[in-house]
């Protein structure tokens, strides 16, 4: 396991990977199919996506394990295979990344709302713990808990990952801009509340993913930095908000636009930048090229 924190301390902006969901669909993943199952049934396709981001110049790639919590997998009747699927996700990305690049184990929300009492905190903790350990066993360098909206679930995830693996833990939330021009998750959490809570739970890298295009992320980074100037900050931006034309979905942010806006995000204090929904290896290559030119 290499230290991502040590790499960040070297001072250079780092580039993460882009979207997996859209690329999996382009490879043939059908609506209603479990993406994590593809780690076993379509290993080649998953590997190709991982490799495409490595080849595009990413310093780190994530794993095809976003929906790999036992609770999420239960919908497909696959929670018994959680360890197997997460370990495979990590192993595939590790093979693609080689020994040079970092692998971050992706952990997404369970889909359950803790405050409604649908599931117990213990069950959620145990699920994240199992998932994080399996990702570690598969070879990840750090755990990336993403697309969080609720403080309670995020803190349970961070603690579970930290306590079960001892790895560096990243945690990112999804924010929207409110009518008043503030940033809040759908559960009403502000960037400042997030920072305090997840750092307390053990996250050493914080940030934001999804919900916003590249340019909109500038405001969120600014707000995070207004309450925390030191903790390393990761951004995974969407390629803009999706547009629909005659039933075809497209994402408006171009790689060129990303290359142009990139310096502004870095200037606001982001340390690691990558993509979420709608992004492609081309977006990542555009960022990697900017860093190389500097």
């Amino acid at each position: 396991m290499r230290s991502l924190l040590a790499e960040i301390r070297k001072g250079k902006p780092l580039i993460s990977d882009g979207a997996w969901g859209t690329l999996l669909q382009a490879s043939g993943l059908q609506p209603g199919e479990c993406p994590e199952l593809w780690n076993m049934t379509h290993r080649g396709e998953v590997f190709a996506i991982a490799k495409s981001y490595v080849d595009a110049g990413a310093d780190m790639i994530l794993t095809n394990s976003f929906g790999g919590s036992p609770l999420k997998l239960a919908y497909y009747g696959l929670s018994e295979r959680a360890v197997e699927l997460n370990k495979a996700a990590a192993a595939i990305s590790r093979e693609a990344a080689g020994s040079e690049k970092f692998v971050l184990g992706s952990i997404g929300p369970t889909g359950a709302i803790l405050m409604m009492g649908e599931v117990s905190e213990q069950e959620v903790y145990d699920g994240f713990s199992l998932q994080a350990q399996a990702l570690k066993d598969g070879g990840v360098d750090a755990i990336c808990i993403e697309t969080m909206s609720a403080i309670d679930e995020a803190c349970v995830a961070v603690r579970a990952a930290k306590e079960s693996t001892g790895l560096e833990v990243i945690c990112t939330f999804t924010f929207e801009k409110t009518a008043a021009g503030e940033y809040r998750t759908m559960m009403g959490v502000s960037p400042s509340e997030m920072v305090q809570a997840i750092k307390g739970a053990g996250a050493s890298i914080i940030g934001t993913n999804c919900g916003n295009g590249f340019e909109q992320m500038i405001g969120i980074v600014k707000e995070i930095r207004s309450v925390d100037t030191v903790t390393p900050l990761l951004v995974h931006a969407n390629a803009g908000m999706p547009i629909m034309n005659k039933g075809i979905v497209s994402y408006p942010d171009t790689p060129e636009m990303w290359a142009r806006i990139f310096p502004q995000l870095i200037a606001q204090g982001a340390n690691i930048i990558g993509g979420c929904c709608g992004t492609t290896p081309a977006h990542i290559r555009a960022l990697a090229d900017v860093v190389r030119m500097k």
Binding site: G21, T22, Q25, Q30, P31, G32, K72, Y75, G111, I113, M115, M116, S149, T178, A179, A180, E182, R184, T185, M186, M187, G188, G211, N238, M241, P242, I243, M244, N245, K246, G247, I248, V249, Y251, C277, G278
Partner: protein, 221 residues
Amino acid sequence: MDEWTEKISICIERGKVNKLAPYPPDLRNQEGTDELTQQAIAAGIGPDIILKACNDGMQRIGARFSRNEVFVPELLMAAKAMNAVMVHLKPFFQAGTVKKKGVFLLGTVAGDLHDIGKNLVGMVVAGNGWEVVDIGVDVKPEKFIEKIKEHPGCIIGLSALLTTTMASMAKTVQEIKAQLPSSVIIVGGAPLSAATARDMGADGYSPDPQGAVTFLNTYAV
């Protein structure tokens, strides 16, 4: 004015379910919608009056949610308070003493497992006096059509959270309209907009539950 209806309305808005409930902190140890509804019914207050009080409360919290003054947790608690009322009103609905405004059939489209948005809209719409038929998540177009046929005249609601299921939603709208041309469909979900809803051929779009209520009420029986 009786001593219960306004209190019920406020408890709905504030999410106060019953006396034991710790939420909201400033209404600790006070009675909630559970106790107040039972008392109102015992005192002979009509179920339609109680329902109106609930509508008013849900309307207010729904409007505050639309203005981003409150968020999902507050709406969930209001819905919980609403459910406590509905438990006591159920016999009246079954007896036909109170009528619903119509049927709203909703589900999350094929490929998408997310239900929080759908559930919130369902709760707020039910709180407004509609019969809500929730057919779940990852629903294929064929199943939507089958269920719509079981509820002729229903308004249809489609939900999706993932950007990757927008195409699935467009396909669902297309197939429903092809088989049932007179169907009325409203769509919602984080990646959508009024423009994308229009492009799909949907009849309506709302970024929040209250907007769905406004849309539905133009079709109320």
